[in-house]
């Protein structure tokens, strides 16, 4: 029991701090878009108002302001006006209060630009694709990159001399430029892979082999464009860490003592991987942002483009919904890694104990 205590204490304190971060982040993400000068209704009016003359446009605009909860209403449901006849805008703190109340009930609001679609609907439909593209790619890139890096560090020699500069060069290529080159070469010039889309244009997503086959076929180029570069970067990092560990005293000592090589390798891996885990957390956290460009290049389904349009159009509810998602995923990833490091790295535990 006593052994459990410091670990539990560690987990709980970390969780506490992360929760606090979450609260602050949600508040900032709420007020940040509203601090800008541009007004979401104007963009809607641009779509809707062409052909209307000024008077009709004004009435439509006020109808939307009312609908989006941006103006104060009196008891009868009509818009409150000030002396010059303009509608009274709802103050920021009130909007925040409404937002929190609604979110706790699971309602993240209605998107302005995609009215009347609900934010939860948009996110639910699009996120699986973003996750499906990013998560396996990042994990595989991380795992394989680390394995290759460790291999290069352990073997050295010719393999290392060839592999290392290549990996370095690969990781220096901007991944979107690489993606576009892949599309051009393999999708357009040679027509080996599809250039556009998440699955064939004449298929409907369903659980049959033709769809899964098509989805996997369309998956290859976007996957490669991210995976190769990520793996390259990871390999280099892992290689450095492993080389460092290989030369440490405890490894030399253990070898000299005649301890089984695999055991030694295991401990070396574990220590070398710790900083890599931090990198993994960062990558996983940046999933949704990173998906954006890939989506644009490949017309891949996902949340990315919707987020960008929302940000440019000041679609507050959708921005809040997406940033909430990003916040949760980043913090969760970092929290998990913190806990894992806590388990793997005795120094951290020692540091905690010392308090």
């Amino acid at each position: 029991m006593l052994k459990r205590h410091p670990t539990l204490h560690y987990i709980l304190t970390r969780a506490g701090w992360y929760f606090l971060t979450f609260l602050v982040a949600v508040t900032i993400n709420f007020f940040l878009p509203r601090m800008g000068p541009s007004n979401p209704i104007d963009i809607i009016m641009a779509k809707v108002g062409s052909g209307l003359d000024t008077k009709a446009a004004k009435e439509k605009e006020e109808a939307y302001l009312k609908e989006f909860g941006l103006v104060e209403l009196d008891n009868g449901g009509a818009i409150l006006r000030d002396e010059s006849g303009n509608p009274v805008r709802t103050p920021g703190w009130k909007q925040f209060r409404n937002y929190i109340l609604m979110s706790l009930q699971g309602d993240l609001g209605t998107s302005f630009l995609n009215y009347p679609k609900k934010v939860t609907e948009i996110i639910k439909q699009a996120v699986p694709w973003t996750l499906a593209l990013q998560f396996p790619t990042i994990m595989l890139g991380w795992i394989i990159g680390n394995i290759l890096g460790a291999l290069a560090a352990y073997r050295r020699g010719v393999f290392d001399r060839l592999f290392f500069p290549m990996a370095l060069l690969l990781s220096a290529i901007p991944f979107f430029a690489f993606g576009m080159l892949l599309v051009y070469q393999f999708g357009i010039e040679w027509r080996v892979f599809p250039a556009i889309g998440g699955y064939a244009g004449n298929l409907i997503p369903s659980l049959n082999w033709s769809f899964i086959g098509s989805a996997l076929y369309h998956y290859i180029l976007p996957f490669l464009s991210i995976f190769l570069i990520l793996a390259g970067g990871q390999a280099i990092g892992m290689r450095s860490m492993c080389i460092y560990e290989l030369g440490t005293d405890y490894v030399k000592y253990a070898k000299w003592l005649g301890i089984n090589e695999n055991r030694v390798l295991f401990y070396m891996f574990r220590n070398a991987m710790l900083p890599q885990l931090t990198g993994l957390a960062l990558s996983l956290g940046g999933m949704i942002g990173g998906a954006l460009i890939t989506e644009m290049i490949f017309s891949y389904p996902g949340l990315g483009m919707a987020v960008l349009t929302a940000i440019q159009g000041n679609d507050y509810p959708l921005i809040q919904g997406c940033t909430l998602l990003i916040t949760v995923s980043v913090l969760l990833a970092n929290f998990t890694v913190d806990i894992l490091i806590g388990f793997f790295d005795p120094r951290v535990k020692a540091g905690q104990k010392g308090k």
Binding site: P37, K60, Y115, K117, L203, F266, Q312
Partner: protein, 609 residues
């Protein structure tokens, strides 16, 4: 080692679950109709794109901006009373067989054969409901029509030829506006909705239209058009042919449209349309594709097989806020008009998709040609002439200051004061518009006019337009081709009816031209704008248009830059042939889902088996 291996296996498993899960998840997002079709044979499917950006939000015909094909002028699901052929200027029958226009009213005779997809007839009651809902609710899509019509009456008359009873609907023209032209616009773009289907829904919402507008109406909606919604997702919208469409027998000689399915893919980047067209995965597109002649070898075609490739129908122009100095000086504006290199704009920014620009607001070709006076253009207008621009400036007392390298430093006016720099506002990231602005700035500065690009985010751009917060703003006012052109373009640019100072919102004449409260106010402009729609006599109309255009050329309240088509009508002959084109003009240059172009669906043939 074990922990590591376990971790790896666990994560790999997670990845597989996610992949499968995404398949499942997406299955739910793409809403299948009953009896869901999942196979779309190429020989029976038409792929067209360019009308839906982003996820489809709603298919409610009473919503303000529903997704394709419920919004806009798409006649696939819901139909308007008539269709306007933008090539010939004829109103073609659809739900209404014929129309009649006088100075007091516009009337249509319904086609008694028209039916809804649930078997009920399309009647004048549906038309009444569609229009009158705008009277009851300020936020209905038809609210604004009541500025132009005052009453709708329905009579049942005997039709002599068919020897049956038909309904005649009369729209009484609102005498305040007195504008039968705009009423004609309604006939061809207000989509008629089923009363027996929507009215009960409205009552179920307690008579609250906003609540009704929130419903998606995407499950087997009741429609009158040749296609109905099958399924949709964030990647595509699928329509299926209605074999019991009333128009097949009544209007199209007892034939079915050739494509059984119409699929609208949703791409996320403009170049994907081009790629898809070239690879034969897209049949029709309406996006701006540069250098389209280079794609001809892959089967990509346009209306014309050479310049200008597309049929021009609208103008892109710089709106000028004439309340800002020095733009308040007519001579300054005229000098700007003479300093822009329109050829470069045409060739570099617009890929030659426009004929050469002529002065004035009236198109010198097509249906507007009869109102265009070449003589006036010569007399009052200016073309690209940098020397003339410099002369106008110096005559008006402006001097341009140059530095040693030959670049423009600034301008001074006759009194020796520094003239403020003029900024052109345009959305950042719209590359073809950015190119236009850059070319214009370059040629104007070379002539000594101190003007600069002012790219802003799209949000700021849309905001600045109605409030007048700009010096110059790039914009294409009223780009659709409708019966009320060219009047509606002139109205959008020059009307002072709703004149408001900068800061308050205006939806037309955002440049604040012709302030009614100033002493330079020219009442002739608004008078002409009021007279033209009320004039039926062609000769008189020509005189009025000529007079108005002459005022425009002399005052130069905006700077037209280039002509643009209503739609970028481009298609691929790899999988379907017999699209309308210059050699085969049986339908106007529109995507076969739009307006009068819809009839192409019955004429195209598949090249596949």
């Amino acid at each position: 080692m074990d922990t590591l291996r376990f971790l790896k296996r666990f994560l790999a498993g997670l990845a597989c679950i996610l992949l499968v899960g995404c398949g499942k998840g997406s299955k739910e997002t793409s809403k299948p109709a009953a009896g869901g079709d999942t196979e779309f044979p190429r020989a029976l499917t038409l792929y067209l794109a360019g009308f839906q950006w982003g996820e489809p939000n709603t298919f409610n015909p009473l919503s303000d901006w529903p997704a394709f094909p419920v919004g806009g002028n798409f006649n696939l699901m819901y139909e308007p009373l008539m269709a306007f052929n933008t090539l010939t200027g004829d109103m073609e029958p659809l739900l209404a067989r014929s129309f009649d226009k006088t100075s007091e009213y516009v009337s249509v005779t319904m086609d008694p054969r028209a039916t809804w997809s649930d078997g009920q007839k399309v009647t004048a009651s549906d038309v009444r409901f569609t229009y009158e809902i705008g009277q009851l609710f300020k936020n209905a899509p038809t609210a604004f029509v009541w500025d132009y019509i005052s009453k709708i009456t329905v009579d049942t008359i005997t039709d002599s030829t068919a020897n049956s009873l038909v309904e005649k609907i009369t729209f009484l023209i609102n005498k305040d506006r007195n504008n039968p032209l705009v009423v004609m616009d309604f006939l061809q773009n207000v989509r008629i909705v089923p009363r027996h289907y929507l009215e009960p829904m409205l009552e179920a919402q307690g008579g609250d239209l906003s609540a009704l507008q929130k419903l998606k109406i995407d499950q087997n909606p009741v429609v009158s058009g040749p296609y109905n919604l099958l399924r949709y997702s964030g990647e595509k919208i699928v329509l299926k042919r209605r074999d019991d469409y009333w128009g097949n027998a009544a209007l199209r000689g007892n034939r079915l449209p050739k494509p059984q399915y119409i699929i609208h893919p949703i791409y996320k980047s403009n170049d994907h349309f081009s790629i898809a067209l070239q690879q034969g995965n897209l049949d029709v597109s309406s996006t701006f594709i540069p250098r389209i002649w280079m794609k001809a070898k892959d089967g990509v075609r346009t209306w014309y097989s050479k310049e200008p490739f597309f049929v021009p129908a609208a103008m892109t122009m710089f709106m000028i806020n004439v309340t800002h100095y020095p733009l308040s000086d007519k001579n300054f504006r005229r000098a700007m008009a003479a300093a822009i290199n329109y050829t470069d704009v045409r060739e570099l920014a617009f890929s030659l998709y426009s004929p050469g620009l002529k002065p004035g607001l009236i198109l010198p070709f097509g249906m507007e040609e009869r109102y265009f006076s070449a003589e006036d253009a010569q007399k009052y207008g200016v073309s690209y002439d940098p020397e003339l621009a410099k002369k106008i400036l110096s005559d008006a007392g402006y001097t341009s200051e140059w530095d040693e390298s030959g670049a423009l430093k600034g301008m001074k006016n006759a009194k020796g004061e520094q003239v403020p720099t003029v900024f052109i506002k345009s959305p950042a990231g719209w590359t073809d518009w950015e190119a236009i602005v850059k070319i214009a700035v370059k040629s104007m500065r070379a002539a000594g006019i101190d003007v600069r690009e002012g790219f802003v985010d799209a949000g700021i751009y849309w905001q600045s337009m109605p409030s007048g917060d700009f010096d110059l703003l790039l914009h294409a006012p009223n780009p659709s081709v409708t019966p009320s052109q060219p009047w509606s373009r002139l109205e959008a640019v020059m009307s002072s009816r709703n004149w408001k100072p900068q800061g308050e919102k205006m939806n037309e004449n955002q440049g604040r031209y012709n302030n009614p409260k100033s002493k330079e106010y020219n009442p002739a402009v608004d008078k002409l704008l009021k007279q033209i729609p009320a004039t039926a006599d062609e000769t008189q109309k020509k005189e009025l248009y000529r007079a108005l255009n002459a005022i425009f050329m002399q005052d130069q309240p905006t700077l037209p830059l280039v002509y643009r088509p209503e739609q970028f009508y481009e298609f691929s002959v790899a999988n379907w042939k017999n699209f309308p084109s210059e050699e085969n003009p049986y339908a106007p240059p529109q995507s076969p889902c739009f307006g009068a172009g819809t009839k192409a669906l019955w004429e195209i043939e598949s090249t596949n088996k």
